[in-house]
Subunit: 519 residues, 2 copies
């Protein structure tokens, strides 16, 4: 059950009331927490390698330049001393590094429920739901275009699972809602069905402004309170190679000016929009990200930003994008090294190419999630629910991925490798002696309920017990769980006046026609 | 196709002949190679933590002692100065560390085909087939007891996949062969269906001696040649907690005396045969392993040995063993740190609790395989084919796991993170420019065929192409592949006189009644 439910119940029953309820919850999940990654990152590059990638990124920025298809951004960078020729902007290393010097290494985003605030940076790691697939797939209905009902289902899953920290982009694109008002309906659901950090797509000034205003109203904040600290964020993508488009830069600048975080994530598939060699693809990606970040730091020094990586490779036989490959893992790790060199927070993803939640989907997703851990990633996008290279969101996959995410959370807990005298258990080893059994000893009895990770969708029974219970494979178990979760979902509370303000705003903006759709 | 096939064909067609055949091979797999792991291991323990685990292991050995249910071993250790009381043997740190000082940090095992020799130790990593399940499962036949036909199927898979380096224990126990002659029939098939390193179960003197003799004959070696260097190996398990049984120690001593490697792998499930706390379970496991290794080094200083870990946890609700858990990963990493402290090679495993080759099986196996990489494991047992906590061997799982193993091999290749000027690709980035595409440029054309990992069972096509082709899930694709592989399998050549000697030996030993079955 979600934290919010716990809190409501605990008012009635306290700790005992909580415990009594545990049996009736759909699953017994880990509590809300922000994992802190204790591992030293995996570093494929030596110091010279880091410098070589960095210098290549700097050469790209200073010798080739980036196309900035946003006149305002170009004018600002010209004023900042960059070499501008039409839409091409060249910036030298001194400028870039000076701008990076303003950016914070870590920041906190506080959503309408302050208990759900997230720390982005340092050793912290947060997980974001699957974002932006046009389609949904589940075991019952197969593949179909995204719609608003499905959007809401995923929002409920996003809220339900404590291991999902951020309600990122739309888990599916609800094509049954007209694009002019889609952001209004979607954000209304996101802000009422969840109390977690939300995100604005940078797809036009009106949308961005609407989402900022809705987030402000949902939190009952004054404009000054909203501007005073990060309350939501945006993620922008470059148009690789070497381009930033108009609306993405526009949205990024709007958020930066109000102190709201911007994640810049180039999408550089090696062999397609980037060099076929991974270090080259990484250097290109970094150059593109740094160019936007330098712009934002010039506009509002110290504004919160992060570098995202989406560097993978294509299948050279078909041109299809591949995810969770060895090359993807190394690109993510290399990016982590460079992002730490630049002193910024980092985003990567939980991704796969598989079309259904089967074995392939889980080894690809596991590879990408462990690469996130190994690279020191702070924000893991698409951490639950992604299939078909991001073209499908699946509720079964969402549930299965959350099991893996919980295991990563548990992996991060120092209890798993603690070496106090109690952990080393010499006295218990003496007590049990040769040929004895540890189930019954006091050392075990004192610890057994919290000693190990407890799964919710894994089946650890032997084959015969599993078979007698219907021989249900993982994806089918996940299907049943997701339906139960939806059936018993309760939305988090929102103060009546905030809800009223939010409702009124949406109604007014709809009456005004929403956002233009011709950008 | 296997290397061996390539070599046979290449005599006829040379390089061109090889290429022409590539299209008709069942799968296009990576060539035989021993992966070298370039990553710094993940080290959850700090230096003090390493010392604390070490000191606990030493206290277990010196204060509690180990039960050695083998009178010969006890007598030898008494002679060595250990404190003996009945079957209890206590050894102090000085003795253990002195004995460890004799053991090599790395050794090579050379099977009948010297091209298949494996290096155990250092940064090398080799993969062993699934070993010892009593049952088999496949999509068509479901779960059933192991039999000789199934044993042979798995031997063919073991030979076929270049990423499987060692033909370890029996992939299934063939219960249709009488135990007195089972080792003769099994080793005959192993030695003729594969040309990779083989293993002897330490289950009685006759079996161990027979397997050594058969390995010698299959390689056409004199006794002196056999004894001169590692040709095969055994793996022994302690009876945790704190016991070594008679046949395991007997087999280990027999191999050590002839210079053949011994891997010592306690099976310490935290909460069952070991403390519920992971550091305690690791300390117990190490103590048990070190006691046997000290014995072997006293008997034959410098004999090749390795420390295995099989420390996982149980499900505290049911007592069922769990694998690939966060606790399993940390235990493996901690063991890696201690094994490096002792200067020995290390074994761990690819394991899962799942009953079928579904999503759960792959996240659990991925977790355990990445823990192997992170821990600096040299020998990965059960790397392909394991299900149900080791009670089932599955050919579909075998094929699926080999995809993950190949990805790990590729991950280890430095090409994935190289930073030469060619890799950084600045000239290509300039050439393609903004908004261009990298498919066509010379830099891509020169590299596309080897730039990325090429999968054989993953399906990277989009949903619609995958659906039109039958919407086949991973386990079913693996099922089809395994059948094709068996249908087209060709055994590696063995010189006629070696085969004759081997056949004669087996016939004679069968006539003599094989091995006693009353131990």
């Amino acid at each position: 059950m979600s934290d919010d439910h716990s809190r409501k119940r605990s008012r009635a029953g306290g700790r005992a009331g909580n415990k009594a309820r545990a049996g009736s919850a759909v699953i017994d999940q880990m509590p809300w927490r922000i994992p802190v990654n204790p591992d030293r990152p995996v570093e494929p590059l030596d110091a010279d390698g880091v410098q070589r990638v960095h210098r290549t990124a700097m050469r790209i920025l200073s010798e080739l330049g980036i196309e900035m298809l946003n006149p305002e951004a170009v004018a600002i960078l010209k004023q900042a001393g960059c070499k501008v020729s039409g839409t091409n902007v060249k910036m030298d290393e001194d400028f870039v590094m000076e701008m990076l010097g303003h950016a914070p290494a870590q920041f906190t985003i506080t959503p309408r429920n302050p208990a759900r605030e997230v720390i982005i940076g340092g050793k912290h790691m947060v997980f974001v739901n699957v974002s932006s697939p046009p389609n949904a797939w589940d075991l019952e209905r197969g593949k179909r275009s995204g719609d608003f009902e499905t959007f809401k289902e995923f929002m409920k899953l996003t809220q339900y699972f404590n291991c999902i920290h951020i309600a990122g982009g739309y888990p599916v694109e609800p094509i049954d809602i007209h694009p002019s008002i889609r952001h209004l309906d979607c954000l209304f659901e996101k802000l009422t069905l969840t109390d977690k950090v939300v995100h604005a797509y940078s797809l036009g000034a009106e949308r961005v402004e609407d989402v900022m205003e809705m987030t402000r109203l949902a939190g009952g904040l004054s404009h000054a309170e909203f501007d005073a600290q990060p309350r939501m964020y945006t993620n922008i993508n470059s148009v690789s190679p070497l381009k930033h488009d108009y609306p993405m830069l526009d949205g990024a600048m709007r958020l930066a000016r109000r102190g709201q975080p911007v994640v810049v994530t180039p999408f550089t598939l090696a062999g397609a929009m980037a060099p076929v060699t991974m270090a080259g693809a990484v250097a290109l990606s970094l150059a593109e990200a740094l160019s936007a970040i330098a712009l934002l730091q010039y506009i509002k020094p110290g504004c919160p930003v992060a570098i995202g990586t989406f560097t993978s490779n294509v299948d050279m036989k078909s041109g299809a994008p591949a995810f969770g490959t060895p090359e993807y893992m190394r690109a993510t790790q290399m990016t982590g090294q460079l992002v730490r060199f630049y002193g910024l927070p980092m985003r990567s993803s939980g991704v796969c190419a598989a079309n259904v939640p089967d074995g392939q989907s889980m080894w690809e997703t596991s590879n990408s999630l462990w690469a996130a851990v190994q690279s020191g990633t702070n924000m893991v996008y698409h951490a639950a629910g992604w299939l078909e290279g991001g073209l499908i969101a699946s509720p079964e996959k969402f549930v299965m991925d959350c099991e893996v995410l919980q295991m990563i959370q548990r992996y991060c807990e120092t209890q798993t490798f603690a070496t106090s005298d109690d952990d080393l258990a010499f006295d218990a080893i003496r007590e049990v002696g040769p040929g004895g059994h540890y189930f019954g000893c006091q050392h075990t009895q004192d610890r057994y309920s919290t000693a190990f990770y407890a799964p919710f969708v894994s089946d650890w029974r032997n084959y015969e017990a599993w078979q007698q219970d219907g021989a249900v494979w993982t994806s089918e178990r996940a299907h049943r769980l997701y339906k139960q979760i939806l059936a018993e979902f309760e939305a988090p509370e929102m103060p009546g006046d905030h809800l009223e303000e939010l409702t009124r705003f949406v109604a007014r903006r709809k009456q005004e026609g929403g956002a233009p759709t011709d950008f």
